[in-house]
């Protein structure tokens, strides 16, 4: 028996996906037409991507995936999506001062522009929201390119594989295998007997929330309560809230909009951190399943507690009166809004901001960092370790302590009344440890690599850069704050962060499994 992987099958199927990615570029194309911008950028991108797709598809016209091929396919699919996503950036910025545009002046500039574009694209598809765009404004970039940036997050949110299973019959054949490798969280919930129907249900819920959200945002604009939230902005933010993305075409993120808009964004960010399968149950009239779900309760509890603590801290003056965010000391509404917004954004890995929390006191920043460690729920679009894993890790530790006093006691771990499989617990423990190790090692690497080119990172900068990329969160602290940029990192660090975003979105396991299986076969 061969330990090798039939890579041709994985790559062949990849071609199918790439081909359809070209179709999604119709959205920025329409924007370009609407704003009278250069339409050649996206026309050429579409032709190029479709051509690549058709060519790659021919590697294996009739792909049949086993478990290892599925893992390889899923890992490659995200890498390929990120690579394909760079095409419009490189073309649109060609010859301009854009940080993501293709530069041909020198070899160094050439590679740097490609790394920047890859960083931006990976940050988009993995819904991270970290940016190297430099100046974010429609003076510097076309509306079409900014919309493409938003769209990548929306496509990546519920998972590009889940999307492919939902609409592409070629992929649906191998659906269950693939979805288990991609869907966030330790356990795949099959809602319907057919996996394609499950994928479709999840995407419809996702789509439905997005539409409702855009309508509300634009409705506020029409009602005169949100002067800056025009149709472009409503759609652009609609694309990045539900996938817990965090990209915004505004340099000031959500701080560019009125308090009413900020209050509307908060619940939608929180929704994005909930397991979407629970909404499916609610739509079927089984709301009690959601209310009894242990992870949902823990998530809601964590959000409430951390928000309350932060609100008190802000009220007591943990934030200096800064330009963005305004004064919070002694102001109840603003303290509560800033606390709820920042926690709603960082706890489940969205990455929007309404205040420059990088300028807050260290104690408030540490609390935000703690929230970043929690993550969203399994089956949500959020990143991070995920609430359910922390719950199980906590229960496993408690059991360990109890059984050391009573060695004979047999104690299964239960979640929402159901017994959790011991293999799953072992998997979750190793995932969590691996996550922490990768986070710590990467933080060290980023510090050293920055020092190599003569830049000193602060403690909060290096740790938050590592955590914000592996957790698909986006903004960090210091120069990486919500209105800052990752641009100053050296290329090697950016590539590491591209890897962290990739591995973090796939929850480490598929990527490492592919590496280990490749090493085994040698």
């Amino acid at each position: 028996m061969s330990w090798g992987v039939n890579w041709k099958a994985s790559v062949g199927l990849l071609g199918v996906g790439i081909k359809y990615l070209a179709v999604t570029m119709l959205v920025p194309l329409v924007v370009a037409v609407a704003y009278g911008e250069d339409i050649w950028v996206f026309l050429v991108s579409m032709a190029l991507v479709a051509g690549i797709g058709l060519a790659v598809e021919r590697v294996d016209p009739d792909p049949d995936l086993g478990p290892r091929e599925a893992l390889l396919f899923v890992s490659l699919a995200w890498l390929a999506a990120a690579a394909i996503g760079t095409v419009p950036y490189l073309l649109a910025g060609y010859g301009t001062a854009s940080t993501v545009g293709l530069q041909t002046g020198s070899f160094g500039a050439f590679t740097e522009s490609i790394v920047n574009a890859l960083f931006e694209s990976m940050s988009g598809f993995t819904t991270t929201g970290a940016t190297v765009l430099g100046e974010i404004s429609t003076d510097q970039h076309s509306h079409a390119v900014l919309m493409w940036r938003q769209l990548t997050q929306w496509l990546g949110g519920m998972g590009i594989i889940v999307l492919m299973i939902a609409i592409l019959p070629e992929v649906a054949v191998n659906g269950a295998q693939l979805m288990e490798s991609e869907a966030p969280g330790p356990e795949l919930q099959k809602l319907t007997p057919k996996i394609a129907e499950t994928a479709r249900a999840l995407w419809l819920i996702y789509f439905g929330f997005t539409i409702v959200y855009i309508v509300i945002l634009y409705g506020l604009h029409l009602a005169g309560m949100a002067p800056n939230m025009d149709l472009f902005n409503a759609i652009a933010h609609g694309f990045t809230t539900l996938p817990t993305g965090g990209f915004s075409p505004q340099a000031d993120s959500i701080a560019a909009f009125s308090a009413v808009v900020q209050w509307v964004v908060i619940p939608f960010m929180l929704i994005a951190g909930v397991n979407f399968a629970l909404f499916w149950h609610v739509l079927r009239g089984e709301a009690e399943i959601m209310l009894k779900n242990a992870e949902f309760r823990a998530y809601a509890g964590a959000v409430a507690v951390v928000t309350a603590v932060l609100a008190v801290m802000l009220f007591r003056g943990a934030a200096p009166p800064i330009e963005l965010g305004g004064a919070t000391q002694g102001v109840t509404e603003n303290s509560l809004r800033q606390a709820a917004f920042q926690i709603g954004s960082l706890l489940n890995s969205t990455g929007y901001a309404t205040a420059d929390f990088a300028q807050w006191d260290t104690d408030a920043q540490i609390l935000l960092m703690f929230a970043m460690f929690i993550g969203g729920s399994a089956g949500s679009t959020g990143g991070g370790v995920k609430v359910v894993r922390w719950l199980i890790v906590g229960k496993a530790i408690r059991r360990e302590l109890f059984t050391s006093a009573h060695p004979d006691v047999v104690q299964p771990i239960r979640l929402s009344g159901r017994v959790v499989d011991e293999d799953a617990i072992r998997g979750i423990m190793s995932f969590t440890i691996l996550y922490v190790i990768l986070f710590a090692v990467s933080a060290v690497f980023l510090s050293l690599d920055a020092a190599r080119i003569g830049t000193q990172l602060t403690m909060l900068e290096s740790t938050s850069a590592s955590l914000a990329t592996i957790g698909n969160i986006g903004p960090g602290f210091g120069r990486l704050g919500p209105f800052g940029s990752y641009l100053f990192f050296p290329d090697t660090s950016k590539l590491l962060m591209v890897f962290l975003m990739w591995i973090g979105r796939l929850e480490i396991v598929p990527v490492l499994a592919v590496f280990i299986s490749a090493m085994d076969s040698r």
């Binding site: 047999v410 104690q411 299964p412 017994v419």
Partner: protein, 445 residues
């Protein structure tokens, strides 16, 4: 009555033995030697052969039988035997099963598998154990409607919290009915404002859980509660069912099981119990886990020898009450003679249940109270009988007899009787009747 008994093990033999004197009994057993031997032990006709085959059943004249009792050691055999019997005739079929799955299927679908009455040995035994553990304060306890309903009689002791209360104050449980009060040997039909005094004997009917909760009110000292430590040794089906039923009564038994996989299974099934994986014959383990300080130990291991060993060990370590499951009926007295508090034999329990069933006519189940002053009856209501089709309050005022309806089961679900409840054909009604009115009531059902 022509009765066919399939399976001549201990249960079958015991049933056949108690029916042989009054009825025409045919016993079928697959083992020719056993069939031959039984012929001389008791006065029955025996046939050697497979009890599920229609050829053998025809030879046993099942087509003419009033009752077919399938009580081999194998569940599937018993179910198929009943199914076959239904194709041959219209006799009442009784199946003995071990699996509670089959019981649940049967309870959900009247007449499933061609079985008219199903007795689940292990569950029945567990129910017995739980009654012994849970209601030490009761003078008399009887199950009705295959365990869904319990009747219990309590003596109200001096200083009981219930003494001095009225009936409506004491009866604060949804599915419990206060049906009778004996004072100085005289029956009173209680009303809401009837006062309860020390020395009275109260009769209640309701779900086993509510009876248990009432017992805690009546005798908080003797009735076990959450704080009491109950240890079940052996995670056999009986041990499991006992733990499960105790859990339903808000008790938290600990279970000891040696086998790793079984222990894991038990721990998964019994969220309210602590399951320990260890050999219970290890005295050092028993002391380490403070089993010696526990209030009640139940031994439900696979073999009598092990049960005996653990029971004696537990008694020596100073456990208050030790209840042992004994597989062989011959050893029951041996266990009790050497000081084990209660020994329960599953086969005897099963045989008694089936035999009791064969005795009963319209009234399916009877308990006699206080020197036959009153009886508790279970009636299955037939189409067009005088009790169906109108509210209970109306019925009670019209019928000139002393009785109280304690509980109703409809399709194996408990229905708490209220004044406006309308009885339906097919309902099982559990009621307390003054002995003078028994014939009047049974004639109406």
């Amino acid at each position: 009555m022509h009765v066919v008994v399939i399976g001549a093990g201990e249960v079958g033999t015991s049933i056949a033995g108690s029916l042989a004197s009054d009825h025409e009994v045919v016993v079928v057993d697959v083992d020719p030697d056993r069939a031959e031997q039984l012929k001389y032990e008791i006065d029955v006709l025996t046939i050697a052969g497979d009890g599920t085959s229609s050829e053998i059943q025809t030879a046993a004249d099942v087509g003419r039988a009033d009752m077919v009792i399938a009580c081999t050691d194998n569940d599937q055999t018993n179910l198929v035997a009943c199914g076959t019997a239904k194709t041959l005739g219209d006799g009442f079929t009784i199946a003995r099963v071990k699996s509670t799955d089959f019981l649940r299927t049967w309870q959900g679908n009247e007449g499933a598998f061609g079985v008219d009455f199903m007795v689940c040995t292990d569950l029945l035994t567990a129910e017995n154990i739980v009654r012994v553990i849970g209601l030490p304060a009761a003078i008399d306890v009887d199950p009705f409607a295959s365990g869904l309903v319990q009747m219990a009689e309590f003596e109200i002791a001096e200083g009981s919290p219930v003494a001095g209360q009225t009936v409506s104050e004491a009866d604060r449980f949804e599915s419990l009915t206060f049906v009778g009060l004996f004072r100085d040997g005289e029956l009173t039909i209680p009303r809401g404002d009837t006062g309860i005094e020390a020395g009275d004997r109260a009769v209640v009917i309701g779900s086993p859980e509510s009876v248990q909760a009432f017992a805690t009110d009546v005798a908080p000292e003797t009735t076990p509660d959450e704080a009491d430590d109950i240890v079940i040794v052996g995670g056999s089906e009986i041990g499991y069912q006992t733990a499960r039923l105790l859990g339903e009564r808000e008790l938290r038994p600990r279970v000891v099981e040696k086998d790793q996989e079984r222990a894991r299974w038990l721990a998964e099934q019994l969220p309210k119990s602590v399951v320990m994986e260890h050999d219970a014959t290890d005295a050092e383990f028993l002391t380490r886990e403070n089993v010696d300080d526990s209030d009640i130990v139940v031994t439900a291991l696979g073999s009598d020898e092990q049960n005996l060993l653990v029971a004696v060990l537990a008694k020596r370590l100073g456990v208050d009450r030790v209840i042992a499951v004994v597989d062989s009926p011959d050893y029951v007295t041996v266990f009790e003679e050497i000081g084990i508090d209660i020994a329960i034999n599953p086969r005897t329990v099963t045989a008694e249940e089936i035999t009791r069933f064969t005795y009963e006519s319209v009234a399916e189940n009877i308990a006699v109270l206080e020197n036959d002053q009153a009886e508790v009856l279970e009636l299955e209501l037939t189409e067009g009988c005088a009790l169906v089709g109108r509210p209970i309050s109306e019925m009670v005022s019209e019928i000139d007899a002393r009785f109280v309806i304690g509980a109703i089961t409809r399709g194996h679900q408990l229905v708490t009787p209220r004044g406006d409840t309308v009885l339906q054909p097919g309902d099982h009604v559990i009621l307390l009747v003054d002995s003078d009115s028994v014939s009047e009531i049974t004639s109406m059902a």
